[in-house]
Symmetry: C2
Subunit: 300 residues, 2 copies
Amino acid sequence: MFAVTILGNNSALPMHDRHPTAQVVTYDEHLMLVDCGEATQMQMTRYKIRRSKIHHIFISHLHGDHYFGLAGLLNSYSLNGRKDDLHLYASPPLMEILHLQFQAANTELTYHLHFHPLTAEGRIMEEKKYTVDCFPVTHRIACWGFLFREKEKLRKLIPEKLKEFAIPSNFYSRLKTGEDYIDRDGNVILNDWVARPGGQARSYAFCADTKYEENIIERVKGVNLLYHESTYLDDLRERARLRFHSTAKEAATIALKAGVGRLLIGHFSSKYEELDEFQIEAERVFANSELALEGVTYRV
Amino acid sequence: MFAVTILGNNSALPMHDRHPTAQVVTYDEHLMLVDCGEATQMQMTRYKIRRSKIHHIFISHLHGDHYFGLAGLLNSYSLNGRKDDLHLYASPPLMEILHLQFQAANTELTYHLHFHPLTAEGRIMEEKKYTVDCFPVTHRIACWGFLFREKEKLRKLIPEKLKEFAIPSNFYSRLKTGEDYIDRDGNVILNDWVARPGGQARSYAFCADTKYEENIIERVKGVNLLYHESTYLDDLRERARLRFHSTAKEAATIALKAGVGRLLIGHFSSKYEELDEFQIEAERVFANSELALEGVTYRV
C-alpha cells in the first residue's frame, strides 16, 4: 500500500472540528508523518494510526500550525518507552526549540532522535523501495514540499519462460532490471520473452503552504497524487497572494499544468465552515480534484 | 461568580478522550487560565470558554503537558487580532522558548505579552476584589501552586439605619471596613447597628503536580476549594513517590489536614480508563472529595 491519511486539513486557527496540518504517508509497513500541528497525537488516537510504526517525521516549515504538536508527540513516545530511532527533517531552528523544551523539562528521551536540517533541495531519504526528496515552495518563511517516489519497479519474471529458455538463476536479478540474456552460443533471449513490466512507479507530492508559484510544476510533474494547499476560494485570491497562500482554482491550475493523476486540496481557512465550494471551484479547472478530509486515507 | 472550569484532567499521556492539564478560573467577568496543555484551545472551543476575556495565564511548571498548548493559543489570539494586553506567569525559561518559536515563524503578536517570571513565593497579582499568590510545590522540576483569594468582603450598610442614626455619607466607607461612628456629642454608634457582615471571602488553591508534601498544608489551610493532583491510586503510592506525584488517598489527606471545604482531584494517569476508584479512595479519607471532570465548572 502507498497512501496518505489526513489528520488535519485546516489552516492556522483550529475551528469547525478541523485541525492544523498533519498527514501520515504509508508505504507498505512504513509510516511517515508529514507536519504535526497541535493535537496531532490526539488525532492519531482518534484515527487509530499505529504511531510506533513512524520512524520519519517531515516538517515543512516553522509556522506553529505545522509543528506545535511535535514536542508533545516526541514526549509521548518517551513516556511509552520507545526504543526505535526517530528521524526528524525540518528547518534548523526547530532543533534549538526542542532542545530548550527538553532542557526546561529535564527530559531525556528514551530513544535516539536524529535531526536532519533541511537546507537545500534534493534527496533526503532513500529506502529500498522509495525515496523522499524535498523542494522549496514559496511562503512567508522558508518552507519545503516533499516528494515521495516509489523506485522504478523491477520487471516480473515468468517462471515457465525462464525454464523454457534455460536461463541460469544467477542472471535473474539482471533480467528484473530489463537486461536481455545472451547464451553461450550467442543467442539473444529478449527480456520481453521472459519478463513482463513490473507496474508503474507511483509518487505523492506534498506542497505544504505556498502561494501560486509555477516553479512547483516542474517538481511535481506527473505525480499520481498531488496535495496542494487551497486556503481560500477564488474571490479572495488577492488575500491569498498577500499571505503567500493559494486558492482552490490556483491549486487546480498547478495540478492541470503538471499533468498529475489526482489533486488533493486542504489547509482550508477557518472562515469557511462549509467546504463544498472548494470542490466545485477546483473541479472546474481540474476534474480529478478531491477535498482532503480528516480521517480519510487516499491511495496514491 | 467565583469558579473553576476543568479543560483537562489527565496526566501527560493524552488518552480516553481526557486531556492534559488546563483550568479556567472565573471571578465575575475575569477569566484566568491555569496551565495550558496541548489542545487547550480546542477544549476552549468545545466548552465555549470566552477566551478573549482571559488576561492572565499562570503556568505551574515546564513539563509539556502543562504548557504545550500555550504557543498555539498565543498565536490564535494574534490571528484573531487581539489588542488587549496579556499577562503570563511562568518559570523563566518559558519566555526564551516562546521567543525562539515566534522568531522562527517571523511572528509579531498583535498584542502586548507581559512575561512575569516566577522565582519566589508570594503575591503575583492583585485586583480590586481578589489576589493571586504562588507557592512552591514538590515536583521533579521547579513547580508552582496558585492561590486565588477573594479580599475580605466589606460590610454591607443598612440604609434605613444610616438614616436613623444620621450618619454622614463621607463616613460610609469607614463603616464598611468595620469602624464604629462617634457623633459630635461623643455618642458611639456601634458598627453592628448600621451594618451587617459582607459574607465570607472565598479562596481556591491549585496545587499543580506534586508529591505528597505536608508543607502544602499551611499554604492551603481552610481554602473553600482545593485542587490537588492524584495521578495514581494508593496501590501505586511507591510509583507516585518516585515520580513526584500523589495518590487519591494522599490528596485527601492533605485536604483533611488543611481543613478545606471541598477537594477536587485530577491529573489521572492514562493507565486508568475508569475513575470511580479515585472518588472512592479519596472519599474514604475526606468525604467532600470530587473528581475534576472535563467541561464541568466547580463553584468555589
